[in-house]
Symmetry: D2
Subunit: 387 residues, 4 copies
């Protein structure tokens, strides 16, 4: 149970790149990082438009002098300060992640980076090496994975309650982009343009989320082959897809499916994962995150609720309010940022944490999956060896 | 609204082959056919074991003399009677359908045949020709398709409420065969043996059901290509699969997916269909058949309930009880058998009905789909032209 | 499992009073009685308008000569026949039940009577005596109580799985009469007129249904005191109520609540029962009758599904199709009519059945409850001793 | 949309009384107040045990000198500081609220007080006067009422979409205290002891929550009469109840019901409110707070989702993340604390805010309701005039 007490001695001095006023995902970064004083927002390059970014930063109670016009200036100036930043979060459009992340690591900063980490596995592995070399933490904000019931799922699977895993069905399929909303919406506009979004739209934008849930729940499963079929239903989005099916074969003989979609008319979010074992299945749906379905064949379906005493320790220790009360996405993110803080502190002392979190490797794996999907899709939706 | 009144002047004299005591699907045939006196059960070859079949028939109030040891004898003897049977339902294991159906048609009988109609498209088309030649009705018991809300879905789509159709996601994925239950269960045993089940297990056994729901809702869509990946998780089932994913491309550019599964541990039935259009989606789940979800992008999700005045005429005319009261699978089947009866009566007078029902062509198409799936799967889960 | 085999040697010769074309509840009587040949429809006085009733009867395949203008004539003429009726179902408006039931019992017939049995406890007890005297079965069509999961609930409670029972919350609250639909709807018109409906509207019309579910689940609980507050929201319905709350104290210290309502705008049916014990609760909702929620405090909620092997024997023996497939209201009614048939057959031989069904006593108790509710309500919604 | 920007120029200097380590509700106060820097935690008397409280405060990054042994000392010392506290939140057991709140108001502080405000209407009105006199804000943490969909419900009702309101059904009925957990749980122990809890247990502890939701949605409805029946199922809790039904008549002819319960075995939370009008109903359930059901009679049920463009402005302006993503209880509380901050700032300038929030009057009304319920219950569950 979290009561807001100090997790680390002193809040980490922290800045943001991007996530400015009106951005989709900036606020949840701040709200999660600042919760319980694990981080302290002391600087930022919040916006592509420097003035707007500064105005915004000041409104966030950041010292105006530390509201920078761009990230390079920020890294430079902050490096000169005694009390300069120790960590930075990157919440900008995809195409900037690689450069900003590289610069941050070179500046000796811990990083929290939005997914996708970058555009190619080559870049991703370069960043991974860099992080290792500099002994820096890079957390990736697969935010949903911070929900406590993901821990419970992981625990049930590790405990053998499902038996051998056979099938993993994933989806993230919303309907918000059923028509060309990009014409009037800047947050969508860059997403459907390969220059800014990278080699895929929905595969990277939404598909990688449940993919990482699967990685978190099933850390041992390795993809062997996959095939991906992608479509661009809204004209003008091609070559980027707004719908994709990916089928996968895992090394242990299991199979998986990811349905990534932004044209699923009427669907609110549609992120679900179902892991099917020989004996039982579990299912989780992010729109109702406080419930985990546990279905043992031949027994009544059971609905596990966050916060209840029958859950495993890992699923309980990050609770912030008793069972029955609904927690939401902010708590999931707060859990991740808390783990990032702990990992950063340990890293500073040359140590490692004994819990998992979406780290740089998760970032690399997300990029790898997209790359493999695109390779398959662009070759006629053929099966490709996973590499 | 159906009050039980005469739909046709005189009940059709009817017999069954198979569907004996302990069979899975025999009772629902009888219960549906006999409802409201559209059919009258006057003869039968109910069981592979003649004695048990006779005993059973007598218990069903069938004249003992008309409880036959096998279907050939039945067709022969009944043909000699003034009051001989006019129609026969076939509810035996798959491998017998072709021969029994052929014999029935040649005997001048109308037929209701279980799916799959037979094992190959060639056989299926032969039966289709035969039916045409003899002017006989062949109804196929895709029972779920008789639910009134399938009519409503069809109506909404035809009316353009969804806009252009883009995606059709189907699944029928239960968990009852997660382990080798066939060892002790005769109804499962033949299903996993290619000699008796045909070239597929779950593709034909369950996958064809939602496939036909899609055909009923979307009569104009034609499959162009498909790929199928199938697995046999329970040892000893190979070459027959207990799990399969089929991806499809339709001629109009839409895509589809069918997940067929019998090892989905803990799932009760898992038959669902979601049709996604440019503007809206509809979703139906057979475990809660009285509700149809209608989701217009940007509007609150709407839940349409069977029996309500806001539904289209076609969705209301087969109601048997007011909205709110739950109808179930028996009503869906009763609707089909009612349509079969009407179609048989019209056919006898050289006429055709002006409503749809799962007819011999639906039977052919189910066989075709399985054949294409198997061809894809057996060639390494490659994309194949649909033929 | 029911396969349609003979439950009794010969179908019971059966007639209906009321339940004519366009009536709400007539068809489900026929469909349930005729299923599996436990009854045979041989006569009827189906309609208040004799001609329409005859025309309807003929359409139901009843011999025109046995389509009678009124029930008295029917009882008289049928008594003269060798093959005269043995049982009759009464599906007419409330005010006629007492007279018709009395006449039927005096004519030596078994009866299936719609609820409410009559208007006063005095009348009800008179009918009960009459039934006893003539050794006739009177079944009451609390149709929902025939669902197999009601057996499971009863079983769990009897088995002590809930611990001591503390609270019983019931409701039947639909919205179909939110405005004065009676102006155009004959089926509603008589319901809101005390001459035809009796001393209550929703209490008797809907409230008695979940009340009987409670009686079926909790045969030992006795009401000690109650208070009822009733309202007539739609003008012109007073003194009959379209909404009522009834609070109850049981002799064992438990409490109960029934919410009866016909103005619950937007609600489809809203029949629910929740039984709360010291250790666990069960909940059942008639709109999704194939699921029973079983909630043990401190354990994950479990959803029990009809047809599954983990249910008790009583909950399985009336299944007609495997678990997963939805059964509906027709099966629940069919179960009751089957039990009625068995009970009638045994009664004819001076024997009694060893299973429960809603019998004349259930009818009496329903009338008693309404009478007590009205007495409370009409005295200012005060607590009254139950009598 | 909230991006975390300054809502008021400077964070309000704020302290807590109670809410210490291990307390149920302390953390959500802090997490909500501190979010977005509307408040700054600078002092506290967090615990009945001074040492533990100090240790805890320090861990919350509070200056050790400002971690006080008790609230009186705190109010005194802080009053002496330039930078002394401006507001205080009271999260202690019920019996202390009156004294602490009075002291705080007399010390010129704004207050956030837990419900119930105090034990008697007399006390409550005294506090109300005091607040008025000192021009201080007193916010009451009916936390669920801060959910944005409560605004939407209020809006739909005010807009006449439901028509005249007829019925309001409320419940808060969990199962966590089905047995005498108080024996081992200090947070429950005081709740069932009238010295510490006041004249009621569940009525005040849970029942007042949905009651306030109704007040928020239906600001014009006034209770005229009520009756309350309460029970103590777990021995040793009497005279305090662990279950209660309250029936109410409103001045406009509507009726209402509140079911308050802590022995609803297996139920997680069970807070629901259903408002039924002549034309339509709305329903909200706190366990799935992002959905609001809107049911127009004769139309398909509609499910309104938080964050969607079709909602009213008031329901959108406090969103922190897009629709589809789940928000939870913390966001609801954060909304309230934000409104409290705005109201405090305005009050300091002698102004009033133009939005509603649970204020001292809401506190008074909660106490009044409990007082009336207890008066009814203790007189034999009779109807009493509301006063
Ligand atoms: N983890 C998740 O659940 C999740 C959800 C949404 C978005 N994302 C990811 O977050 C990132 C941002 O997405 P978004 O939807 O918030 O985008 P957005 O377009 O809404 O906002 C982008 C913000 O970055 C700023 N920006 C752009 N370029 C910049 C630069 N060079 N320097 C500084 N600021 C710059 C913009 O001014 C804007 O404030 C993307 O990579 C996206 O994939 C992740
Ligand atoms: N439409 C549906 O929803 C649905 C559901 C289940 C089964 N089915 C189909 O129905 C058919 C039967 O399946 P089932 O599960 O009831 O099988 P089952 O094994 O449970 O029963 C088969 C019955 O057929 C009898 N039989 C076998 N060979 C016979 C013969 N030569 N002559 C006469 N009787 C014979 C057996 O004695 C038994 O009574 C299959 O084709 C299956 O695919 C359809
Ligand atoms: N068990 C249930 O779930 C359920 C549901 C609905 C109705 N009911 C009960 O069933 C009864 C009938 O209700 P309904 O809604 O079907 O009514 P309805 O008004 O729809 O139909 C009544 C039928 O009875 C006929 N009738 C009337 N008086 C008659 C008479 N003297 N002789 C012969 N026929 C006569 C009418 O012509 C009509 O066909 C009522 O007592 C009602 O409470 C029970
Ligand atoms: N708004 C809500 O949803 C909600 C939910 C739960 C509790 N509550 C209310 O919050 C209050 C606290 O409930 P809880 O469940 O957190 O109680 P708790 O027993 O869990 O915690 C009470 C805390 O107050 C401290 N305390 C007790 N007396 C004190 C004093 N005189 N000075 C300083 N600290 C003192 C204790 O040490 C403890 O830390 C109650 O009034 C309760 O009704 C409200």
């Amino acid at each position: 149970m979290i009561y807001g007490e100090r997790a680390i001695e002193n809040p980490i001095r922290w800045a943001m790149v991007g996530g400015g006023r009106g951005s989709q995902i900036g606020y949840i970064h701040r709200s999660s990082a600042l919760r319980d004083f694990n981080f302290e927002l002391v600087a930022g390059a919040f916006d592509i438009e420097a003035e707007r970014g500064k105005d915004f930063g000041v409104n966030l109670h950041v010292n105006p002098e530390r509201c920078y016009p761009d990230y390079l200036t920020m890294f430079e100036r902050e490096a000169e300060r005694e009390d300069g930043i120790q960590a930075v979060s990157i919440a900008t459009p995809n195409y900037t992640h690689y450069e900003i992340c590289k610069a941050a690591l070179k500046a000796g900063l811990h990083v929290v980076c939005e997914k996708p980490l970058c555009f190619t596995v080559e870049q991703a592995e370069e960043l991974e090496s860099l992080a290792k070399e500099h002994n820096r933490v890079v957390g990736i904000t697969y935010g949903y994975s911070g929900h406590q019931l993901i821990e419970q799922a992981r625990h049930l699977i590790a405990n053998g309650e499902l038996g051998d895993i056979r099938i993993v069905n994933m989806q993230f399929s919303h309907g918000f982009h059923n028509v060309a909303v990009e014409e009037n919406n800047p947050s969508t506009k860059w997403r459907v343009d390969p220059k800014f979004a990278g080699p895929s739209y929905v595969l990277g934008d939404v598909g990688t989320h449940p993919l990482f849930l699967a990685e978190a729940m099933l850390p041992k499963m390795k993809i062997k082959k996959l095939m991906c079929s992608r479509q661009s239903f809204v004209k003008g989005r091609a070559p980027l897809e707004d719908n994709a099916y990916t089928l996968m074969e895992y090394e242990n003989g299991a199979v998986g499916m990811v349905w990534s979609c932004a044209v699923n008319s009427g669907s609110m979010h549609g992120q679900k994962i179902r892991v099917i074992g020989e004996k039982a299945s579990i299912e989780w749906w992010d729109e109702h995150p406080n419930q985990l379905t546990f279905e043992v064949q031949g027994k009544p379906v059971r609905i596990l609720e966050r916060g209840m005493g029958y859950l495993c320790e890992e699923a309980l220790r990050e609770d912030r309010i008793g069972g029955g009360h609904p927690e939401g996405l902010f708590e999931a993110w707060s859990n991740l940022y808390r783990r990032f803080a702990l990992a950063m502190k340990e890293a500073d002392q040359g140590k490692q944490v004994d819990f998992w979190y979406p780290d740089i490797h998760a970032g690399v794996e997300g990029v790898r999956w997209v790359e493999n999907c695109v390779r398959s899709a662009d070759n006629g939706a053929i099966w490709v060896e996973y590499k």
